[in-house]
């Protein structure tokens, strides 16, 4: 990382820390969700953006993470922070296991398999033999954690800071993972799996691992989301959630770490804007936004930002040369 980037990041982080002190609690809650979605999108990006395996069902892992947190808090009385590692582990395993058969499936077939997972998970959550834990169609209501150590902030602000901390940790891990050997292997598999196989990269392990890690991220996001919303129910995790995640990474920018954040901002705020514009057909407005973004930035917001920066840099260099 260059010095400039480090400074930029520090400024951003500072801004993120200052945010809850400047805006209303409701906005804090919204930005809390943005962080949650950013983690989820980071997860999907590992799988779909970096590794090229399309998932239309990541909402399922988000749901599993959310239910892990809710059940552990509600039934086992675990504190909220202790549910995150459990949710992470459960989703890692679930993702890895789902990734094993998915290894045999390519492209469309994988898309169908994941789509099927996304569609059928809500009915599994409602399944009457699981009702004891999942609360069936009624879902589970959980309590919002209070700030610890007598901090002079309210619950929303505390939860935001907690989520921010988790987000930063998750992103640092992702950044370390993706820029190194593992990241290169994932991209190489995406771009040419025959060649990587020949080069001795174990595609199968990397691909299922990508599935597991991806599910883990999304699961942690689900747990954080459940704690923020204080409620889980099958209706919260319909197939449109999965599609929303996909929209998020495409609009944000595939295979890009900042892209996950741009995408999260998009999926959090643009539907509200659409609703403001038209009560009659909010989805139509949302659809038009989608088209607009894809047309103007086919490589996502991250791609557009990258291009704009490159242009600025080139211009700066030209100026230097001319003077």
């Amino acid at each position: 990382m260059s010095r400039r980037q480090i400074i930029l990041l520090a400024v951003l982080l500072l801004a993120a820390c200052a945010l809850p002190l400047l805006v209303s609690d409701y906005r804090v809650f919204q930005f809390n969700l943005v962080l949650v979605y950013a983690i989820a999108l980071m997860g999907l990006n590992v799988l779909t953006g970096y590794n090229g395996q399309i998932s239309l069902g990541h909402g399922a892992f988000y749901a599993i993470g959310a239910y892990c947190a809710a059940i552990l808090m509600d039934k086992a009385g675990l504190p909220y922070w202790a549910t995150l590692p459990v949710a992470a582990f459960v989703c890692l395993v679930a993702g890895f296991l789902f990734g094993l058969p998915a290894l045999r499936l390519e492209g469309l077939y994988l898309a169908l398999a994941t789509f099927a997972l996304g569609v059928s998970l809500p009915s599994l959550l409602k399944y009457h033999h699981l009702e004891k834990w999942t609360g069936g169609v009624q879902g589970i209501v959980i309590a919002k954690p209070d700030p610890p150590f007598g901090l002079p902030i309210n619950a929303d602000q505390w939860l935001y800071y907690f989520t921010l901390l988790v987000t930063v940790i998750m992103f640092v891990i992702a950044w370390n993972l993706l820029r190194g050997r593992v990241g290169r292997a994932l991209v190489a598999i995406r771009d040419n799996h025959v060649a990587t196989e020949a080069m001795g990269v174990n595609n199968a392990i990397y691909k299922s691992l990508a599935f597991g890690v991806s599910a883990m991220y999304t699961g942690v996001a689900g747990a954080l989301g459940a704690i923020a919303v204080q409620y889980v129910a099958p209706d919260s995790f319909g197939i449109f959630l999965s599609l929303t995640f996909l929209i998020g990474i495409v609009i944000g920018g595939l295979a890009s770490i900042p892209g996950a954040i741009y995408g999260a901002l998009f999926i959090q705020f643009v539907p509200n804007v659409a609703d403001e514009i038209s009560k009659a057909a909010p989805w139509a407005i949302f659809g038009i936004f989608l088209l607009g973004f894809v047309y103007l930035m086919p490589m996502g917001i991250a791609g557009a930002v990258r291009m704009a920066l490159a242009r600025l840099q080139r211009r700066a260099q030209n100026r230097q040369r001319s003077t």
Binding site: Y109, L112, A280, G287, V294, P298
Partner: protein, 290 residues
């Protein structure tokens, strides 16, 4: 035993629904190598067009063919106007465009026509067939129409130069261009044909499930599964896949695992099959020598 037969027949009836939409999916896949998520909503939208005509007093069959023509033009226009600009964008960007189309069509239709269900007429007589009341004449007729469309498609692709050109353009666009095929137009035609087939599917489905803007939402997944089970490049497979999914789902739901999880289990089975046989039951496997 009789109960089983009844479930199989009911499964064939719903399978016919899946088959007709699966056919449209396969169609567009053949032309563009993409699965169009908005296919169901396009079909729904076209069916509303037919409904409007019929309500305005146009007799059924003229309305039917006018709708097929309308859907064809709509498909071509959408390809030219909406899909064209993202031709060179990553596949997932195109998928997002499909989702955008889906929500726009759904929302606009709901806005124009409201979400209350509407009846859609059937061109077939009422009453029972073959002494059983389990398969209505419309359901049987709809299966027949699907098969007719299938045969027409087969003839078109197999025996007309245009059909051949479309297959060539889908398979190898560069080579197709080199023999003078206007690949862009072939894609648009593919969209048009898929939309037209979708319109037929919509008009056959609507009398069974009733016409509403969310009519195709549930069906799309089944059609998607049917198309893949049958082999996504094979129209015959798609139709057979549709019937298989319909029957499987009903029999599982009624006798094996109950209705609650029938979708999940049916899908798991399908995925299981695909894991073992990745190109579907009837998909072709090509060995290309280099």
């Amino acid at each position: 035993m009789e109960a089983l037969l009844h479930q199989v027949l009911a499964g064939l009836a719903t399978g016919g629904i899946y088959a007709s939409l699966a056919l449209a999916l396969v169609m567009i896949y053949q032309a563009t190598h993409l699965v169009n998520f908005a296919q169901g909503e396009l079909a729904m939208f076209a069916t509303y067009f037919a409904w409007t005509l019929i309500n305005a007093g146009v007799p059924y069959w003229p309305a039917f063919f006018a709708t097929v023509a309308f859907a064809f033009v709509l498909g071509v226009v959408i390809e030219r106007v909406v899909i064209r600009p993202v031709e060179n964008a990553p596949v997932l960007a195109v998928v997002v465009v499909f989702i955008a189309l889906l929500v726009i069509l759904n929302s606009v239709t709901g806005w124009i026509y409201s979400y209350t269900i509407k009846t859609f007429p059937s061109p077939f007589p009422t009453g029972g067939v073959f002494g059983t009341k389990l398969l209505s004449p419309h359901e049987l007729g709809a299966i027949g129409v699907t098969l007719v469309v299938l045969v027409l498609l087969y003839l078109f692709f197999r025996f007309t130069p245009l059909g051949l050109a479309m297959r060539a353009a889908a398979q190898n666009p560069d080579s197709a261009r080199l023999v003078g095929i206007r690949v862009g137009w072939m894609l648009a035609l593919g969209w048009g044909l898929a939309a037209a087939i979708g319109a037929v599917a919509g008009m056959m489905v609507a009398p069974i499930v009733f016409l509403d803007p969310n009519m195709m939402g549930g069906i799309l997944l089944y059609a998607f599964a049917a198309a893949l089970v049958g082999g996504v490049d094979n129209p015959w497979g798609a139709v057979l896949g549709g019937f298989m999914v319909g029957v499987l789902e009903n029999v599982l739901g009624a006798f094996v695992i109950g209705n609650e999880l029938k979708l999940a289990v049916a899908l798991a089975l399908i995925i299981g099959v695909l894991v073992v046989k990745p190109s579907g039951f009837f998909g072709k496997v090509f060995v290309t020598r280099v």
